[in-house]
């Protein structure tokens, strides 16, 4: 899977590349508008991460060019300006998602995976990890072909950890994923622990190996 990162903040793009490489994506970086246009014109990408404010142009213009050339690359806008207007403009121009900075890398990875699933498999995709398979279309989980009854939160949690497999996902990232903006209200991670406990119990009961590991104080990891 090829990802293009259009981002002028070099350290941030380096972080993104490092994280996504571990997730087996191949990444390219464009740190200005000119390079971005050149790259998008010459190559196709599965997903493009697009920063709106570039030193020599507006990222939205890149998006317009892509759409004008009938390119089907998925686009996620990553912007420091979390404004409703930017979000609406971006999505209206055909962006697939909008992620305000600062974001969690696992969140970015999950969003990229979702965009690629939508683009490549028309929304129906089955993520198979040994005996565990997650149907992201039906939002259903089976272990050894037997369905596992999970709550909405438990399903989200499992998919989130699985798309970031073999990476530590911090508690903050999980809290934000599960409860959205509400995670900003309470600094209480006990509810994550409660959900993980239930999820692990249900998976174990249906014969799934214990893939979800607690990483001391930092978070959780889906290890496979």
């Amino acid at each position: 899977m090829k990802i293009l990162i259009i981002e002028d903040e070099e350290e941030l793009s380096k972080s993104i590349v490092a994280y996504l490489k571990a997730e087996t994506y191949s990444c390219e970086v464009a740190n200005n508008y000119k390079t971005a246009i050149e790259k998008t014109e010459s190559f196709d990408y599965d997903c493009i991460l697009l920063d709106i404010s570039l030193p020599d142009g507006n990222g939205l213009q890149v998006l317009k060019e892509l759409k004008a050339n009938n390119k089907t690359d998925g686009v996620i806008i990553i912007s420091a300006r979390d404004s409703m207007q930017d979000r609406i403009t971006g999505l209206n121009l055909g962006a697939d998602d909008y992620l305000p900075k600062p974001f969690h890398l696992p969140e970015l990875s999950a969003r990229i995976a979702a965009v690629i699933r939508r683009r490549k498999f028309d929304g129906s995709s089955i993520l198979t990890l040994n005996e565990l398979s997650i149907n992201t279309d039906a939002k259903a989980v089976t272990v050894l072909n037997k369905p596992v009854d999970l709550t909405r939160t438990e399903y989200d949690l499992l998919l989130y950890l699985a798309t970031n497999k073999n990476s530590v996902v911090s508690k903050n990232a999980i809290a934000e994923r599960i409860s959205g903006d509400e995670a900003e209200v309470f600094d209480n991670f006990d509810f994550i622990y409660a959900h993980i406990k239930n999820l692990k119990k249900k998976l174990a009961a249906s014969g799934c190996a214990d893939y979800i590991k607690a990483i001391y104080r930092m978070g959780y990891k889906f290890e496979i």
């Binding site: 903040e9 994280y19 420091a80 300006r81 600062p102 530590v168 409860s179 509400e182 600094d187």
Partner: protein, 420 residues
């Protein structure tokens, strides 16, 4: 005391004193002049009738003497050294039955070695009546003059001060976040024009300072987002490194929490500037009850964890026409505060009344400092969760929508009420 009344009061007291003093002085001056005239008349009468009297005495023909009625008394008297005298008879009736103030001339002289006295009286009644009438008319005139002056003065000063009051009213209504500069129409008085110009400059400078401060917060918050994003991403990469011992993991986790707080603070600051910049324009019809129920559901875990008992009196609903995100933030802040600052096994009471929402919660058994409550970074708890912007945001949202937000401490319950 109003400025207008203050100047008028000085005029009025001066005029009143002058009037009170002037009327008696005038009365006495007039009276003296009248008496002088009467005396001259008496002397003239005496001079006129003296030859007649002398003739009558010499010819022993007093019976035919025509003495002008009762006003002249002419008779023989014992020798006397009295000289001519004039005096007033205030009550009258001294030499006649007619009761009226009069002026008398008593004269003593000799004709053929015999002593005679002559008394001539002239009535002052008519003259005094005249004085009284003059004084009355004069007083009326003076009072009318005084009142007229007062009224004219009042109308005039009011008119002259009109630009001042206009400016004052506009200054009272002035909000630096609503109006860039306070412009006034030119006035006819130089001082007021100077005042208006000074105010214009002052408000203009104020607005500049205000906008640059606002821009600073805005830019600083936005510029902060990128380094924060870098910091957070590097921390998350650091989490992936191996091997990590427990000490390192603990340090990274603490850093992650600090970074989360920083980004939360930053987001709140951006939200505040957005509210101040009035960037939430889209309005829709909202049910307060629905939003509260949704929020309670969202906070279910935290409520359950502290075993907080919720009493939600939702017999009534309030429908608002406002921006959804803002109302959700407002109610979310109030509700999460009620949860966060609560105690274990505490309670929260929510009442929906007509046009009013009341949220009460148990917690610290003393009132919060109402002076500082709604100010930026005024934390009422040592809790690290709270960043001290929640209530300021709530207050800003309320003032933007013209709601009123109040805090009271009633019967050990912290009570926040929003009047829509």
């Amino acid at each position: 005391m109003q400025l207008l009344n203050k100047t008028i009061a000085s005029y009025f007291s001066f005029s009143a004193v002058l009037l009170l003093a002037a009327i008696p002085i005038f009365y006495f001056a007039l009276k003296t002049a009248l008496i002088d005239t009467a005396d001259e008349e008496l002397l003239a009468t005496k001079t006129r009738i003296m030859p007649q009297l002398r003739n009558a005495v010499v010819n022993h023909d007093q019976g035919n003497l025509y003495l002008y009625g009762y006003d002249i008394v002419f008779e023989k008297e014992q020798p006397t050294k009295n000289r001519d005298s004039m005096y007033s008879d205030e009550l009258g009736g001294l030499y006649s039955n007619k009761q009226s103030p009069s002026r008398l001339l008593a004269s003593h002289f000799t004709i053929n070695q015999e002593f005679y006295s002559l008394r001539i009286k002239t009535s002052l009644a008519d003259k005094l009546a005249l004085i009284k009438r003059i004084i009355l008319i004069l007083s009326l005139l003076l009072v009318a003059l005084l009142l007229g002056l007062l009224v004219i003065n009042r109308i005039l000063t009011k008119k002259i001060w009109q630009p001042f009051y206009t400016t004052l009213k506009r200054l009272q209504d002035y909000r630096v976040d609503k109006q860039p500069v306070l412009k006034s129409e030119p006035a006819s008085v130089k001082e007021f024009n100077d005042l208006n110009r000074a105010i214009e400059l002052l408000t203009e400078r104020n607005y500049q300072v205000y906008t640059s401060q606002k821009e600073f917060t805005e830019n600083a918050s936005h510029e902060m987002q990128s380094p924060l994003a870098v910091f957070q991403s590097k921390l998350e990469l650091l989490m992936q490194t191996k091997p990590l011992n427990e000490d390192q993991a603990a340090l990274i986790s603490d850093l992650a929490n600090a970074s989360k707080r920083m980004s939360r603070l930053n987001k709140s600051l951006i939200l505040l500037t957005k509210i101040e910049n009035n960037q939430f324009l889209k309005k829709e019809s909202l049910s307060v009850k629905d939003i509260l129920q949704k929020l309670l559901q969202q906070y279910e875990f935290q409520i359950g964890q502290q075993s907080i008992h919720i009493a939600f009196d939702d017999a009534m609903d309030i429908t608002l026409n406002a921006n959804k995100s803002l109302v959700e933030i407002l109610l979310g802040n109030l509700l999460s505060n009620a949860i966060r600052h609560n105690v274990s096994n505490g309670n929260i009471q929510i009442y929906l009344k007509e046009k009013e929402l009341v949220i009460q919660n148990s917690g610290k058994p003393s009132s919060l400092d109402t002076q500082k409550l709604f100010q930026r970074f005024q934390k009422n708890s040592p809790d690290a969760d709270s960043i001290g912007l929640g209530l300021e945001i709530a207050k800003k949202i309320c003032s933007l929508n013209h709601y009123s937000l109040e805090y009271r401490f009633i019967g050990l319950l912290h009570t926040f009420s929003v009047r829509f």
